[in-house]
């Protein structure tokens, strides 16, 4: 393992993961008020109506695909009788649909963000940085997959990227595997690590407030006045001379 490999595939990923987890914990504690989707629907509805569901459902499907493709070992799918060929066809067809939806949705959203005045002026530097990293990650992923298949040499990432990714969680990173992967995959993975590091400090945190609990909670929420979370800092001390009016 060279020093470069060590840096790219061990040090950086762990730094990014620590930032990802620690950042979220810290942000949740420090900045619940800023934890929001920051919707711009008030400013513009027409493009958003198409682009936002397209992007979001596309990326949800893509995330689902990544879970199946990377977290589930190849041996598991083969043991239930799914051959590499069958897996590849399914993954490629579903992945292509999801990928195209995501990219088209994202392109429309970025176009909207740039051209609609109020939306653009509500875009912070933080948002712009996030858009660059997110778009780069998504485009790299899609391009790598498409190019591999167009040239007739699809790379089986389940032999390289996936075992490496899982090995991160056993704390024994398999850098040899990822080093075998084509450059496109490597850059996609590195971008993804960067994206994870950036994640907690951007509006992307809204992913973790997906309101699943809504499906089960009662419609009307009652809360006592006393359940208000205490303001941090000192409780004001009452002075007798200021009581009453």
């Amino acid at each position: 393992m060279t020093g470069r490999e060590q840096l790219l595939w061990v040090v950086l990923p762990y730094l990014c993961l620590v930032t990802f987890i620690g950042g979220h914990v810290w942000r949740y504690r420090y900045d619940k008020f800023g934890w929001t989707t920051r919707s711009s629907q008030m400013y513009e509805r027409r493009i958003l109506r198409i682009a936002s569901p397209l992007f979001h459902f596309g990326i949800l499907a893509a995330i689902g695909g990544h879970v199946v493709g990377i977290l589930v070992p190849k041996s598991w799918t083969e043991s239930v009788g799914v051959s590499e060929g069958a897996y590849h066809v399914v993954a490629l067809s579903l992945g292509a649909v999801a990928g195209v939806c995501t990219v088209v949705g994202m392109a429309l959203l970025i176009y909207r963000r740039r051209t609609v005045g109020p939306v653009f002026s509500a875009t912070t530097k933080n948002d712009k940085l996030m858009y660059v990293v997110l778009a780069a990650t998504i485009v790299l992923g899609l391009v790598t997959t498409v190019l591999g298949n167009v040239t007739g040499h699809p790379h089986d990432y389940r032999e390289t990227v996936a075992p490496y990714f899982r090995s991160i969680f056993w704390f024994s990173p398999d850098t040899a595997r990822i080093s075998e992967a084509p450059l496109g995959f490597q850059v996609h993975v590195e971008m993804a690590w960067l994206l994870f590091a950036l994640w907690p400090f951007t509006r992307l945190v809204h992913v973790f407030s997906a309101p699943i609990g809504y499906l089960t909670r009662p419609y009307i929420v009652y809360r006592s006045r006393e359940q208000r979370p205490a303001r941090r800092g000192w409780e004001p001390v009452s002075r007798p001379d200021q009581r009453g009016r």
């Binding site: 619940k32 008020f33 919707s39 936002s52 609990g213 809504y214």
Partner: protein
């Protein structure tokens, strides 16, 4: 029986002169910030008219509130939980900024900066959304006083649902003002629509609030509320709504809108209700029975059974006493003159209205009749079918009978009290005709015409373990007695956290006030630069003396 207390309001529409003082003071207290420029927690509409946001009452279009599904069970009109989550990425039923209005300011600086020229310089309107020049085309009360104007009024959803051809000629029309705040419903559909569970009803006083730390900006509440009284702060990405000025009512003083109401038409008090029966009442099959169903949920605070249940539910003794003295309870149930706004939305709204008799009286007096003779009035109420059906569409889901009864009681009070005031023998028959006793009529007259501050606002203070109202009052006056720098994201943060202008903690109101004045005076941009620290604090003004910071300090005069 599960007894709960609810802070409620009654507005006497006969007294509303449409001066918008409530709206302006409310705005000064709560929504004078960037992100909520277009927001009026309190607004005053001219009826007939389109309202604010435009045609919000058209639930075929906006799908607010509740409806009964095919099985006769209560369901959100905009769709249930799964549908909500599936449409979360773009809510098609949310009004856009155009449906409210595009907020603007003026380029006042050119008035002082313009070079010497032949023509007077003009302050042009600048959009507060885009910062560009704009053409002002609509506002929160654009159709103010245009009750009969055919161009705009024809789009009034209430007029449309009456389904009659209505002559909108100015000389034959009627109009009145409708001040609106959040209804603080017993069955709030905004709370039910919130995917994050951030909107809650306070169990002590029933005030509906948005937890700013839990709101994630999914915008479903805006759709859910049929009154469109939840607003999306486009800067912070959070929902905001009328708070019933909870920091004020907690210490026993009325809301800012009530405090500053010129016509003194608002009444605040608590009512006790049976929380177990809310769902059943809201599911009443026939829309027209909803007004009665809603009243039946309220509990009589003089009933010993209710008092015992209230005690078991942990409602303090002084709250029960306040419920007995509550002007709201009296107007709703003893005199039966207060009606809920749009009960057919099935949210059980808790801001009630005394419908205006004025259109009837006006019509009589302009046609040369004695507008205070009971015979004339009673006859005219029935003859003026259009105002009655319009009012019924607003207050009783289209059932004219309760409205007619209320107007008859108000008319009876006028005629009866005229005799009393002129020293004549009052006609007991007038009282009988509307099913009231002379004492009832005189009590009602006292409450409607001459009630003092203490009678209009019967607000019990909140009970806090180990604290007294003095401590709360102290908290209310944050900046006056505490160091206003003592919190995260305070003045040192410059109004903006590291993740954009919305991050960091929510700012205490008095601190925002401090910054507002500073930035107004030192800012050099036309359009609000987007910091959230800008408003005069009327929140802790109790009507005595001058509101702090409302007017700039007087310049010290030099000694001659």
């Amino acid at each position: 029986m599960k007894v709960m207390a609810q802070m409620a309001m009654v507005m006497n529409l006969d007294k509303c002169i449409g001066c918008h003082t409530c709206s302006v003071t409310c705005k000064q207290a709560w929504t004078n910030r960037s992100g909520v420029e277009y927001v009026w927690f309190n607004n005053v509409e001219t009826r007939p008219g389109q309202g604010y946001p435009r045609t919000y009452q058209d639930q075929e279009r906006w799908k607010g509130g509740w409806t009964l599904n095919k099985r006769g069970r209560l369901a959100l009109r905009a769709g249930g939980r799964v549908k909500k989550l599936l449409s979360i990425f773009s809510n098609p039923l949310m009004p856009g900024i155009d449906d409210y209005y595009e907020p603007w300011t003026y380029d006042y600086e050119t008035l002082t900066n313009a070079p010497a020229q032949q023509h007077t310089p003009v302050a042009r309107p600048k959009s507060l959304i885009s910062g560009k020049d704009m053409k002002i085309a609509w506002s929160a009360n654009w159709d103010d006083n245009l009750g009969g104007g055919p161009t705009l009024t024809a789009d009034d959803p209430v007029l449309k649902s009456i389904g009659e051809k209505i002559v909108l000629d100015f000389e034959q029309t009627f109009m009145f003002y409708l001040p609106r705040i959040c209804e603080h419903c017993l069955n709030p559909s905004c709370a039910a629509s919130c995917p994050s569970g951030a909107i809650y009803k306070r169990s002590e006083d029933g005030i509906v609030l948005v937890d700013q730390d839990r709101c994630r900006g999914w915008r479903m509440c805006v759709t859910g509320c049929p009154y469109k009284k939840i607003y999306f702060n486009h800067r912070t990405g959070k929902a905001e709504k009328c708070t019933f000025c909870f920091p004020r009512v907690e210490v026993g003083i009325p809301t800012v809108c009530s405090e500053t109401c010129v016509g003194r038409l608002r009444y605040i008090g608590i009512v006790l209700y049976d929380a177990d029966r809310v769902l059943e009442a809201a599911s009443t099959p026939d829309d027209k029975d909803l007004y009665a169903a809603q009243r039946s949920v309220l509990l009589d605070p003089d009933d010993p059974e209710v008092q015992r249940a209230a005690e078991e539910a942990g409602i303090p003794r002084d709250w029960v006493t306040a419920a007995q003295r509550s002007p709201v309870w009296a107007l709703i149930n003893r005199f039966e003159v207060a009606l809920p706004l749009h009960p057919e939305y099935r949210t059980m709204p808790m801001v009630w209205y005394i419908p205006p008799l004025s259109p009837v009286v006006d019509s009589l007096s302009t046609s040369g009749h004695d507008a205070e003779s009971s015979g004339n009035l009673f006859g005219a109420i029935d003859a003026l079918r259009i105002p009655i059906s319009y009012l019924a569409e607003l207050f009783t889901a289209g059932d004219p009978k309760p409205v007619r009864d209320v107007l008859a009681r108000l008319a009876a009070m006028r005629s009866f009290m005229r005799d009393v005031n002129l020293g004549r023998e009052p006609d007991v028959g007038i009282a009988d005709a509307v099913g009231m006793t002379p004492e009832d009529i005189e009590d009602m007259h006292r409450l409607l015409a001459i009630a003092k501050y203490e009678d209009r606002y019967v607000i019990p203070t909140v009970h806090v373990e180990g604290a007294d109202p003095g401590v709360l009052a102290h908290r209310l006056e944050e900046s006056a007695t505490e160091c206003s720098l003592d919190y995260d994201g305070g003045p040192g943060m410059g109004g903006s956290g590291p993740f954009g202008e919305t991050s960091g903690g929510a700012t205490p109101i008095a601190v925002e006030n401090f910054h507002m004045l500073k930035q107004r005076q030192t800012g050099d941009t036309v359009v609000d630069p987007g910091d959230r620290s800008k408003r005069v604090n009327l929140l802790n003004w109790d009507g005595k003396g001058e509101a702090k910071d409302l007017l700039p300090p007087r310049a010290e005069k030099d000694e001659p």
